[in-house]
């Protein structure tokens, strides 16, 4: 029966692959384990091993074509076997399904007949050896009486090629000594063997510690990977003169502390300004869900808080409707809750925009990864006293803070992102405006 070579899934997120190059040509004899073609995924180029020996009867997709994972990309037949090319493989599959649907009894008979012809005459010992070595007995050349495959034939088959070409290539690239891979006498070293050897070498290294990717770390890993894969990020950075914001903070701090018992922080002012800007630019407060852009009414600002075991993002709901004292109180409570591990799902769900501030760690400028399904994230740097040339061409030292906005380009274009970021800058430089 013809063997269908499928587009392999070379990673958990791979959904399609590009055929870069067919190493074998149509009509050529191919051996299991030989390189068959080169595939490009979203990450790497890989040589794919031939999954079956026989004749490469048909190449279904040509070089340069993008093919979904699981689709038939080539047909391999046995030597001398007829292959009826009745169209694209998908069509063949559909036809097959029709037949099974219609006359079930008939196809079952057919199946039996097929497996009958597929049976190979081989001694139990040959079959056992083939089984133990993961060899398809059909690939072995029989020399026994009446075309029977005997044990010796399997041993010969194994001895013929001890290392698959792909295994050899990987071993060369990674500097793996093939003689260190022990296989049962006569067995072929395959790609898997070399890869597991590489793994083994890793574990043999001293001074490494293996921590299972689990719990919050796993969730963060998955979310961040998803974000980077799904959302095309672009980044906008500008400098904000924080002179007035600092002044405001100093002016209000004492009053707010009296009122709430909590000190006002610059972060609270940044939250307020971002909330205000979001109200004016609602596309920044949106997400993509099922082919729709969902624009959210509520402005819920998430605050990235670093903890030892990972990152949490508690949310200040309706930040646009809250005054600075309220924001200050709420954010300080949320941070305390986060650090003591007492956040409830309600505290960290439903965010529409996130602010990440690494200023306290001395970071002047950085690019944050969007917290999906949100469409943007604001990265806040440290306030640095910087020489600035003012509008009168005079050199002055000003407290400058850099803001970097990461935007999901599926929703937000550069100009929109820039306007939004500039609005935050305006608000921070003239905080009185926030009162309007």
């Amino acid at each position: 029966m013809a063997f269908e070579v499928k587009m392999p899934k070379l990673g958990t997120t791979m959904t399609e692959g590009t055929i870069i190059r067919w190493i074998k040509k149509e009509g050529e004899r191919v051996e299991k384990g030989e390189p068959l073609l080169e595939i490009q995924t979203d990450k790497v180029n890989l040589e794919e091993e031939c999954p079956e020996s026989g004749i490469l009867k048909k190449i279904v997709y040509l070089e340069g074509q993008v093919v979904e994972v699981g689709k038939t990309i080539a047909i391999i037949t046995k030597e001398g076997e007829e292959y009826n090319d009745v169209g694209k493989p998908e069509e063949i599959m559909e036809k097959k399904q029709e037949v099974t649907g219609e006359i079930r009894g008939n196809t079952e008979e057919k199946k039996n007949a097929e497996s009958e012809t597929e049976k190979v005459k081989a001694s139990p010992a040959a079959k056992r050896l083939a089984r133990e070595n993961n060899i398809d007995i059909k690939d072995v050349n029989p020399t026994g009486p009446d075309g029977r495959i005997v044990e010796k034939d399997v041993i010969n088959y194994i001895n013929k090629t001890k290392v698959t070409p792909v295994a050899k290539k990987i071993a060369e690239e990674k500097g793996i000594d093939l003689s260190t891979i022990t296989k049962q006498e006569g067995m072929r070293i395959t790609k898997e063997d070399v890869l597991s050897k590489i793994n083994e070498n890793l574990t043999l290294e001293e001074n490494i510690k293996r921590i299972p990717l689990s719990g919050p770390r796993k969730i963060i890993a998955e979310k961040m990977k998803k974000s980077k894969i799904e959302a095309p990020h672009f980044y906008l950075t500008l400098s904000v003169d924080m002179t007035n914001a600092i002044k405001l903070k100093e002016e209000l701090s004492v009053k707010i502390e009296k009122l709430t018992g909590v000190k006002l922080s610059l972060n609270d002012i940044i939250i307020k300004s971002a909330a205000r800007a979001l109200k004016e630019y609602p596309m920044l407060n949106s997400s993509i869900e099922n082919e729709f852009i969902i624009v959210k009414e509520d402005i819920n600002i998430g605050l990235a808080v670093a903890l030892e075991e990972g990152l949490v993002v508690p949310v200040i709901r309706n930040a646009d409707k809250k005054g600075l004292s309220e924001i200050s109180k709420e954010s300080s409570e949320l941070i305390i809750k986060a650090r003591s591990g007492k956040l409830l799902p309600d505290d960290y769900q439903g965010g529409t925009f996130t602010i990440s501030n690494l200023g306290m760690f001395g970071i002047e400028e950085f690019k944050a990864v969007i917290n999906l399904p949100e469409s943007a994230i604001l990265a806040v740097g440290k306030i640095v006293k910087t020489p600035v040339v003012d509008e009168n061409d005079e050199l002055k030292v000003k407290p400058i803070m850099k803001l970097t906005l990461s935007c999901d380009h599926r929703i937000i274009d550069g100009a929109l992102g820039a306007k939004f970021l500039n609005r935050i800058k305006e608000l921070l430089e003239n905080p009185v405006e926030m009162l309007l």
């Binding site: 001694s123 139990p124 010992a125 026994g144 005997v150 044990e151």
Partner: protein, 325 residues
């Protein structure tokens, strides 16, 4: 170690057991002064007297019946049936009584009897004197069946058979009586139910019984010249059958030739073959199990035809080469 004939070793075994245990006695046609049809018991009547070496008229039923009865009464009779073909006359006594008594009496009665009998073709004794019946008796529950192939084995095994508390049918191939081999002096007993590796090898396992062991050993010498390394297993006792030794050998070589003296259909070779296929050795087989056995015919009188009725050395050579193809 002294070389002795099979017949001498057998007689030595019988004599030593008679000396050792006064309840052992021999009974059969012409076994006294005449010394038995093949001379196995020669001289024993002179040494032990007519009460312990009893000559009887021609009645296999009576002889075997006496054996079963005496055994029940605490004696250890060794019954001789002149030709194994005649055991059919003693079927009722041996099979329907002797083999069943211990079971039917809930173990309270036992039948420590040996029925010795020469078997096989090759002597021009024609159809009524040339059959081999081990498989026939192996089929009956309650009987043990032994067919020693060498002088060493026959002495050790006749002692074991006599000392066993159950009826044992002891087959001696007529052509083996004149075979010579090393036999240690004095008392030694070989276990019943234990196969013997008569030759170690790696390429093919020959499982041969009785006279066929000798033929297989000859064939192995020839095959060795061609670089074929044969292992020969002698089951020795076919009931109980030592499959463990056989399976171990087959796992090593992956190829099996079974050589037996009796007709192929439903023979003990079929039992061995089935046992191999049923066992873990199946996965080690590299060729179908092959059986060489007698033809399904009465043994002819004509010497040329008689020769062709059972496997010969050249058949074994051919058989081995066939499965090694």
């Amino acid at each position: 170690m002294a070389e002795k004939l099979y017949i001498e070793a057998l007689r030595e075994g019988l004599r030593e057991e008679m000396l050792r245990d006064s309840s052992v006695f021999l009974i059969g046609e012409d076994i006294g002064v005449y010394g038995g049809a093949f001379g196995v018991t020669k001289g024993l009547v002179q040494e032990f007297g007519e009460k312990r070496v009893i000559d009887t008229p021609i009645s296999e039923t009576a002889i075997t019946g006496i054996g079963v009865g005496a055994a029940l009464c605490g004696m250890r009779p060794v019954v001789e049936i002149m030709f194994s073909d005649f055991t059919t006359l003693a079927m009722e006594q041996l099979v329907n009584q002797g083999a069943k008594i211990r079971y039917m009496f809930g173990g309270k009665a036992k039948v420590p009897m040996v029925l010795r009998t020469p078997m096989g073709s090759g002597t021009g004794a024609a159809a009524q004197h040339s059959q081999s019946f081990p498989a026939v008796f192996a089929h009956f529950p309650g009987l043990k069946v032994v067919m020693p192939s060498t002088p060493y084995d026959v002495k050790g095994l006749i002692k074991a058979a006599i000392r066993d508390d159950n009826p044992v049918v002891f087959f001696e191939h007529k052509l083996l009586y004149r075979v010579k081999g090393e036999v240690p002096e004095g008392d030694y007993v070989l276990p019943l139910g234990k196969a013997d590796i008569k030759r170690k090898g790696n390429d093919v396992t020959i499982i041969a019984g009785s006279i066929m062991v000798i033929k297989a050993l000859e064939a192995a010498k020839e095959l060795e010249k061609e670089g074929i390394d044969v292992e020969i297993i002698d089951p020795v006792t076919i009931k109980p059958l030592d499959m463990e030794t056989i399976v171990k050998s087959v796992k090593k070589t992956g190829r099996v030739l079974i050589v037996e003296d009796d007709p192929k259909s439903f023979g003990w070779g079929a039992e061995v073959a089935a046992g191999i296929v049923e066992s873990e050795a199946f996965d080690y087989l590299d060729a179908p199990v092959k059986r060489l056995a007698g033809r399904d015919i009465p043994i002819p009188y004509n010497p040329n035809l008689e020769r062709h009725a059972v496997p010969q050395i050249e058949d074994i050579l051919k058989g081995v080469k066939q499965i090694l193809r």
